[in-house]
């Protein structure tokens, strides 16, 4: 990544571009051209100031896609157990799109709920898929979104019909291949009127940190919340420490719809993530929680967007960052309120806790408020743990390390409370593990 990379063109004749019906092939080709035509974004450009875009340029033809990480079986077993215990509605194991397994969806199918591969959905639900796929994440968003648009293979499609409620989460386990693999996962989720869904979207795997080439993943997630729907989306990044990862998430929610987005980031070497929700009808509400814990040499770059396209909408973001060792994080949070969108509420908070010298955090709030009738606030803090807090705990006999652990655990506890039960233990484990040897 340190040496300058040349742009790599997606060739004209590759199998990905030949998949699916004509409309899809056209969209893929359009995406390919957009990718090839777009320059690598210059470093000074908005959203690229903190991360070198060359990291995300990859030659798919040299990628091998064979082996998977050993610990995958362990995690699948844990989640299969969660499934059998009734903590999950269904489990999908997605091996970089090369193999996708579905566990426990019989009951949901009886409810009329569709959970299938994107390639199958294209054939079986052409109307729905054509209408929504590429609607939010497409070549217009950026070069790397165009890359996924051309190369995704395969992905997940979920449709919850109007009025259907899925109580327990559907869990996607998306496993990146080992050394030198490249994957382009994609998901399309449509939650019908008055319907409810909790989706856990977990990105794991990737090369082991043993000197072999790192793996690469470029994901796209599109979600639609129809009127009065309730959707909970939990993203977990726990890829290996040599994985380069790019993810663009976009959701659009209609009148009276509610969306809760929880982004949990622990893994990856270089991770750039972009979460966006458009509030498209009165009464729509979006809440986002971010929790990022970086260690070692990890580099994180996150962007969130709350776009109030309609009046009488409400959004709230609470993005928390903890860094240790030499980890780096940049957070850019955009609130956009359209000119015609009256009586909106929008809040944003980004707090960064730096556990030692050598870490670095940036926070950039961006407010584009084009309407005066709004309630809006944002806040950001970057700093070490308050030594007075540590002293207070020590004054009660608690040792320094333990005091630091308690304060950091307290810092993240409100976010952890939002995490669905089947994940909670593992997430707490990630936090605890990263607080060792402080």
């Amino acid at each position: 990544m340190s040496e300058a990379k040349h742009d790599i063109i997606i060739p004209d004749i590759i199998p990905e571009l030949e998949r699916g019906p004509l409309w899809l092939r056209q969209k893929r080709r359009f995406s390919r051209e957009a990718y090839n035509d777009a320059p690598i974004p210059p470093r000074g450009l908005h959203l690229w100031r903190y991360t070198d875009p060359a990291a995300f340029v990859v030659d798919r033809t040299t990628s091998s896609d064979t082996a998977y990480h050993d610990n995958y079986d362990v995690i699948e077993k844990v989640e299969l157990h969660n499934l059998s215990e009734g903590h999950l509605s269904g489990l999908v194991s997605d091996f970089g799109g090369r193999e996708i397994r579905f566990h426990g969806f019989d009951r949901l199918r009886d409810q009329g709920i569709v959970v299938t591969t994107l390639s199958e959905a294209v054939e079986r639900y052409p109307g729905l898929v054509e209408r929504y796929l590429y609607e939010l994440v497409n070549a217009g968003v950026g070069k790397f979104e165009a890359m996924n648009g051309a190369l995704w293979n395969d992905g997940i499609f979920i449709h919850v019909p109007d009025g259907e409620v899925i109580e327990k989460p559907i869990h996607l386990l998306r496993e990146a291949g080992s050394s030198d693999s490249a994957q382009f996962p994609r998901a399309l989720v449509v939650v019908g009127q008055n319907a409810q869904l909790t989706l856990i979207d977990e990105y794991g795997g990737g090369a082991a940190g043993n000197g072999s080439g790192g793996s690469y993943s470029n994901g796209a997630v599109e979600m639609f919340g129809l009127p009065d729907s309730r959707t909970r989306y939990v993203m977990l990044q726990r890829q290996s420490s040599v994985t380069t990862s790019y993810l663009t998430h976009r959701a659009r929610i209609d009148r009276g719809a509610n969306m809760l987005t929880i982004a949990l980031s622990f893994g990856g070497a270089v991770t750039k993530q972009n979460f966006g929700v458009t509030l498209n009808g009165p009464g729509a509400e979006s809440n986002m929680y971010g929790l990022l814990f970086g260690s070692g040499n990890q580099h994180f770059d996150n962007h969130t967007i709350h776009h109030h396209a309609s009046g009488q909408t409400r959004s709230d973001i609470d993005f928390k960052v903890v860094l240790r060792d030499r980890a780096v994080s940049a957070y850019t949070g955009l609130i956009r309120i359209d000119r015609m969108a009256k009586s909106c509420e929008a809040y944003q908070e980004n707090r960064n806790l730096l556990l030692n010298l050598g870490t670095r955090a940036e926070t950039i709030p961006e407010l584009e408020i084009l309407n005066e009738d709004v309630m809006c606030s944002h806040g950001a803090t970057i700093g070490p743990i308050d030594p007075m807090m540590v002293f207070y705990l020590q004054a009660r006999g608690i040792r320094h390390q333990e005091a630091v652990r308690m304060i950091v655990s307290g810092f993240v506890s409100d976010t952890l409370r939002q995490v669905p039960r089947d994940l909670q233990e593992r997430i707490t484990g990630f936090v605890t593990q990263r607080l060792e040897h402080i």
């Binding site: 308050d386 030594p387 007075m388 807090m389 002293f391 207070y392 705990l393 020590q394 004054a395 009660r396 006999g397 608690i398 040792r399 320094h400 333990e402 005091a403 308690m406 304060i407 655990s409 307290g410 810092f411 993240v412 506890s413 409100d414």
Partner: protein, 256 residues
């Protein structure tokens, strides 16, 4: 000098804050069972003294000695001082967001008792102690001091003392911000804690707490020094006549 009879003693303590000397050679010995009060006007250095003795990183002890039950206090970190049996009830307790009162106290008690200690009695103990201080049970699951009123924070400090059961308690302006009912409750908590083995040092501006917690010895601190000592009657005289006369007697300016 190490005072073998005292449960807590310090001599010729000097304290600096940001390079400025605020405590200028203070000595005191507290025998088991004794309650001492240090009174003084604002800015006299009495809070600095108690914070420095606890090991507050903002207060540097530049001279003197302190012994707690025979242990050399000044060689210890704050957590070691606590485990040795010292407790400071803070004047302005900090909020610790995300850490509940119960979890905080469990961790604190566990660190006092040791990692292998049996904690099965903790819930019962906490419940009993909370009831004794008229603290609603719901506080156990609230984040420590987060959004608590001044009076609630002071009660929680006394609760911590009561649960941790130290040998020596320094109470820094524990009466400030309390209404009369809360003051009585807190005083009852202190009296309940007190027995013939404990040492207590009350640091206070006003005499009113001393109506409910009877000190054996009262000391007046002005400009970083203890300038007068006496029995409980001294506190009453200070209440009537203020601090100026003590200062004048000692040839010092009493300050604010």
């Amino acid at each position: 000098m190490k005072n073998r009879k005292a449960v807590f003693s310090f001599s010729d303590i000097h304290v600096e804050v940001e390079g400025k000397e605020v405590v200028k050679g203070v000595s005191l010995a507290i025998a088991p069972g004794e309650i001492h009060a240090i009174m003084g006007p604002n800015g006299s250095g009495k809070s600095s003294l108690s914070n420095a003795l606890m090991g507050h990183p903002g207060y540097e002890i530049t001279g003197g000695e302190a012994y707690l039950d025979g242990n050399n206090l000044l060689e210890m970190e704050a957590d070691e001082r606590s485990r040795a049996g010292l407790f400071l009830a803070f004047q302005y307790p900090l909020a610790i967001p995300g850490v509940t009162v119960a979890n905080f106290l469990r961790a604190a008690l566990k660190s006092q008792r040791g990692p292998e200690a049996d904690m099965s009695d903790f819930r019962k103990l906490l419940k009993k102690k909370m009831a004794g201080l008229s603290i609603d049970e719901s506080f156990a699951t609230r984040y420590l001091n987060d959004g608590f009123s001044g009076g609630e924070k002071k009660r929680i400090e006394i609760l911590q003392m009561s649960v941790l059961n130290p040998k020596v308690a320094l109470l820094d302006e524990t009466d400030s911000g309390l209404d009369i009912d809360a003051l009585k409750t807190v005083a009852a908590g202190i009296n309940q804690f007190h027995d013939e083995t404990k040492g207590i040092l009350l640091v206070t501006h006003y005499q009113r707490l001393l109506n409910y917690v009877k000190p054996h010895h009262v000391h007046v601190m002005i400009d970083g020094r203890l300038v007068k000592s006496g029995g409980p009657e001294l506190a009453l005289k200070l209440e009537e006549s203020g601090y100026d006369w003590v200062g004048a007697e000692a040839g010092l300016k009493a300050g604010a």
